[in-house]
Amino acid sequence: MERVKIETQRFGTLDADPAEILHFDGLPGFPDARRFLLREHDTSSVFGWLICADQELAFVVTDPFQFFPAYQPELGPHHLCAVGASEPGPLELLCIADVRDGAVHLNLAAPLLIDAHTRRGAQVILETGNHPTRAPVRPR
């Protein structure tokens, strides 16, 4: 399949296999952001990038369990439906990191679910557990 070229200001031109592209039905605040790529931040970093192919938009993302081992997101059927999964299977869960002024916080209230098979992703809003939108990984 022909590779896809994605122009970004921060990352330059990204060259992607079409099979790499993750399909979202928008995100809260970004309803038109539909196609994304996951890329590493640095070979040794636990952080990665979720880069939008439709507009100039990128999020720092990470595996929240590395920082919050007790984090227990309760996923219901509507969360799984959002990525086309009929049952919990090869789902990846990542959280968006807010990096500002040397401080890093994770949004544990609305993690990203990605189904590796369907390549569909969604930011799901957890109704239970009272998870914070700004959990400090590194306070300022």
Binding site: L38, D42, V46, L57, V60, Q66, H78, D98, N107, T133
Partner: protein
């Protein structure tokens, strides 16, 4: 936008699968009972707005300084060895 008046106990149906019933009205507060299929997310609007605000705050511009990230190590190791970013 469609605007309807309903009394406690009365309901509206949206499509074939959604029903919103007024349970009670008191002190400027309306309690609603919502029947929706398991795959339909139902959220208070302000929660979605809070997540939208958090996303907009976290969205990186070309100028966002990310030096802090490189110094951060995870607090615990997960078996299986982390995320494959380019999967």
């Amino acid at each position: 936008m469609l605007v309807l008046s309903r009394k406690p106990g009365e309901a509206i149906r949206i499509g074939g699968t959604l029903m919103v019933r007024v349970v009670s009205v008191s002190g400027g507060r309306v309690r609603l009972a919502i029947d929706a299929p398991a795959d339909v997310p139902v959220h208070r609007e302000e929660i979605i707005e809070r997540i939208a605000d958090a996303n907009q705050a976290a969205a990186c511009t070309e100028q966002t300084e990310l030096g802090a990230l490189l110094e951060i190590e995870p607090r615990s190791d997960r078996p299986g060895g982390g995320t494959r970013w380019n999967a």
